[in-house]
């Protein structure tokens, strides 16, 4: 069984029926089993408790959040949803402008193109390298594959200079100053570029293994290469595209470093994570807003995670070297 398949069974929605396990698997003594259960329960609670407390605090009033620990809520229950309204639409604390909502929109406006465009560009490249082919296609693939070792930290300074000054050789402009600096485009274009090695690698693995007959048949019917890409390769690659899309969307949504570097502190381009990071300075004075704001950023990945877990795991495994 390949790791991929194993992962699907691991995270699939259907838990294994007890009968599948051979009887000898359930052999260990009762005390061992009980100890194991205790360890699992303790660990699960430890893992969940910080998130739970954070969530509870986001539902308490300012006075309560600052006056007592969240665990006291069980003795004096009193919950409100108003923090979410305040933090999303009114701001306060350190949030510039009217709340976090515009920043959530920025995050979306960054994550959508930074997910779609890499899929198109990388699947085209993967198809070219695996099916259309040319003499040094394998070398080109290996170079792209190898570029995964370059951390994006290596690119920050030169890219920033490129965005704000263009590129010149001996005073002659070879790349115009596009006036991108501090715009949404700068952030998502950067994400798109950094995603390439992983995207090509993932999609190549899948596209190269599409059944030969389908592509040959289309060729024989007189379809040109580009038509085959649109009508045969793209539709058949959807499972791989889904894995990559989920991974990439979450990666972009959760990213801090690229957003921080390329949004240039301009409120119209900053993603949610950057605002939230700046909020962390207000600990103590606006705990109720901070926790609500934190939960706003968490909620989207959570939804994606719980609804699309199996694709997420596959993407995670393959993409775990990214960054």
């Amino acid at each position: 069984m390949s790791v991929d398949e194993a992962l699907v069974t691991e995270t699939g929605e259907t838990p294994e029926p007890a009968g599948v396990t051979p009887p000898s698997h359930r052999a260990p003594a009762k005390t061992h089993q009980r100890l194991a259960t205790v360890v699992i329960v303790v660990m699960s609670v430890l893992w969940a408790l910080p998130v739970f407390g954070f969530f509870v605090t986001s539902l308490r009033s300012k006075a309560e959040a600052e006056g007592s620990g969240w665990w006291t809520v069980f003795v004096h229950p009193s919950l409100t949803f108003s923090n979410y309204i305040s933090v999303l639409f009114h701001g306060g604390a350190n949030i510039q402008g009217g709340g976090l909502f515009p920043y959530a929109m920025n995050s979306l406006a960054i994550a959508i193109p930074a997910t779609i465009i890499p899929i198109i560009v990388a699947s085209m490249a993967a198809y070219s390298l695996s099916w259309v082919r040319f003499k040094s296609a394998d070398t080109v693939y290996f170079i792209i594959f190898g570029l995964q070792v370059v951390p994006l930290q290596m690119s920050l300074v030169p890219l920033l200079q490129l965005y704000s000054h263009g590129a010149h050789i001996g005073g002659f402009p070879i790349f115009p100053n596009l006036n991108l600096h501090g715009s949404i485009a700068e952030v998502w274009i950067s994400h798109t570029m950094f995603s390439m090695p992983l995207a090509v690698f993932l999609l190549y693995n899948f596209i190269a293994q599409l059944p030969n007959e389908l592509i040959e048949a289309a060729r024989v019917d007189g379809a040109n290469f580009l038509y085959i890409y649109r009508r045969v390769v793209m539709p058949l690659s959807l499972p791989a595209i889904a894995s990559f899309a989920i991974f990439q969307f979450l990666w972009v949504w959760n990213d801090l470093l690229i957003g921080l570097t390329f949004s240039a502190k301009s409120a119209s381009a900053q993603p949610l994570t950057v605002q939230l990071q700046q909020l962390s300075g207000t600990f103590g004075s606006h705990l109720e807003l901070l926790t609500a704001g934190g939960f706003v950023t968490i909620i989207i990945p959570m939804i994606v995670f719980f609804s699309l877990q199996r694709y997420f795991v596959r993407g995670l495994l393959a993409g775990s070297v990214k960054g």
Binding site: P50, M154, D255
Partner: protein, 329 residues
């Protein structure tokens, strides 16, 4: 209302960009589709591969080479008059006390986080098997993987909130410590080296789920008859694990450790969010960021980026080669 229209405008702008890109591509596809004969293939290849190659060159290859050059130059890089300083930036990185401590601290992260997460993930994967409601338990452990590092940092910063003894506590850690009889705990995030360990906890919290899922899958893929045979020979519990299960998943364990090491090496968000690198908590990636964006010393920042790159190369190489082998095996 204003809020809604500006947001809509922004999203529409983005859709226009994506739509424009697709439209241009469609037009080029249509145009190139007219070409037949011996140019058909080269033109298709240029069109298909061109965008990816351009993005890679502009976004990764050229900048990375330029960063290497910048690392041999002085600060304030803009303009041609920046002096060539040889290895001075690297010498600084390995002799300046603050930076040297930063590198050592990064190495500590690199050892502790992967080890603890892997052991925790493995223990969990071994014990959770055969349990009732294991789906719930696994989801809880795995959930942090989806949370951003910034979100995770805020969640834990709240756990670590400190207030003087006697005041009502809001941080879970202080409350528990005091209830357990530690009447005067330190101010957690201000006391070194404790603060570094507390931040490592955050990354362990995130990475354990990843380790659990990957190693759980490997454990399951061990054929039942192997386990069966070992049991017949009298191996169970710890011995079964030591002499049968562990050797059979050892290559997966390596991949997990290396993958977490790579993530740990690049860790930036946690330190930047929780302490900003103050109170003796700085790590490589954060120091690089502050050299570039706070000290405006691009030469030193670039040297640190190159050091990071050199440290990452062996790790990523091993893990992608493993991954490749696994896929093609």
């Amino acid at each position: 209302m204003h809020l809604l229209t500006t947001s809509l405008d922004k999203l529409l702008g983005v859709l226009e960009a994506v739509g424009g890109f697709v439209a241009i591509l469609a037009f080029l596809f249509w145009l190139a589709g007219k070409v037949r004969g011996r140019f058909e293939k080269p033109i298709a290849n240029i069109l298909l591969l061109g965008p990816a190659v351009i993005l890679l060159l502009v976004g990764l290859v050229i900048p990375a080479i330029r960063t290497i050059f910048l690392s041999f130059r002085g600060q304030y890089v803009i303009g041609p008059d920046v002096k060539y300083v040889g290895l001075a930036n690297y010498k600084w990185a390995f002799t300046d006390p603050h930076t040297l401590h930063t590198l050592v601290r990064t190495a500590e992260w690199l050892v502790i986080v992967p080890l603890v997460s892997t052991v925790a993930g493995l223990v969990f994967a071994l014990l959770v098997d055969r349990m009732k409601y294991q789906v719930i338990a696994k989801s809880l452990i795995f959930m942090p993987t989806a949370i951003s590092f910034v979100g995770a940092s805020l969640i834990w910063k709240y756990v670590y909130q400190y207030r003087a003894p006697g005041l009502p506590q809001i941080g879970l850690l202080s409350e528990v410590a005091m209830k357990l009889g530690w009447s005067h705990p330190p101010n957690w995030l201000l006391s070194s080296p404790l603060n570094t360990f507390l931040m490592m906890v955050i990354l362990v919290w995130i990475e354990t789920g990843f380790a659990m899922v990957i190693m759980g899958a490997a454990l399951r893929s061990i054929p039942d008859d192997v386990i069966e045979a070992a049991r017949v020979d009298g191996a169970k519990g710890w011995r079964l694990f030591r002499s049968v299960q562990l050797p059979m998943i050892s290559s997966t364990v390596t991949v997990v450790i290396i993958t977490i090491m790579t993530a740990t090496l690049k860790i930036f968000d946690i330190v930047y969010t929780i302490t900003g690198g103050n109170f003796h908590t700085d790590v490589l990636s954060n120091e690089m960021y502050s050299q570039i964006f706070e000290e405006f010393n691009n030469g030193r920042g670039s040297a640190l980026a190159v050091i990071l790159f050199l440290a990452v190369v062996p790790l990523v190489t091993v893990s992608i080669l493993r991954l490749r082998k696994e896929r093609y095996a």
